[in-house]
Symmetry: C2
Subunit: 124 residues, 2 copies
Amino acid sequence: MEKKQLFGLCPYVTSQKVLTGKWSMYIMYLLKDAPVRFNELQRRMPENMTHTTLSRQLKALEKDDLIVRRVYSEIPPKVEYELSEIGHKFEKVLAELEVWGNEYIEYLKKRDKENPVLDDREGY
Amino acid sequence: MEKKQLFGLCPYVTSQKVLTGKWSMYIMYLLKDAPVRFNELQRRMPENMTHTTLSRQLKALEKDDLIVRRVYSEIPPKVEYELSEIGHKFEKVLAELEVWGNEYIEYLKKRDKENPVLDDREGY
DNA sequence: CGGAATCCAGACTGATACTG
DNA sequence: CAGTATCAGTCTGGATTCCG
């Protein structure tokens, strides 16, 4: 009881809570076609993100039931991650997000070309 | 020069950076139909979020060119916020996100009903 | 191989107070 | 009305180290 109830059942707020992790959407993108093993996932992440961080993000996504962790009892150990059912439904959002993200990147490039100077803006 | 370049031009990573702010998507949702004034925006935000926080979020969104700040030189002052052009293009993502968010909320309700006990999970 | 535990540094948040 | 400044508390990612 006494759960943190941020803003009763608003889909935007609830979604944003889930997507808080810095890499959550990218991880879901990597998992959308097939299960991926831990180390393979790490290799595909930007900047060779440390496994500590990746591990935490995966655990968070698992807690929220967006991904499923599947352990194979072998030597050496093998663990695969894949999207859950509700996680797969998120692919539609990912698709739109990819479209928009690319438009936005184009927009930023244009903006920076026209206005290359006064930039304390962040990169992309 | 020397901008922070997180992961060259990946739409997911770029998008997530923009959406970092805890309320960014909700703000964009509130602005999607028409311009809204500062105080009105604050009233519609969850939990009467402080204007300090709202101000910062708006400034961040403005810096990223997702929203436009329009100042009317009147007494008393009047400032309206609205989506920019690239901001409006984000509405498609918002639409999918709303669908998914509601599905997800339903999923969580069902999960918690079937399994009301072992919960250190967060609310929604 | 796939983690958990710990610690640190930087970012974000919010309360409070002040301004034009 | 619509902010800004400041400061404290919290949250988070990342590095390092150790474990089954």
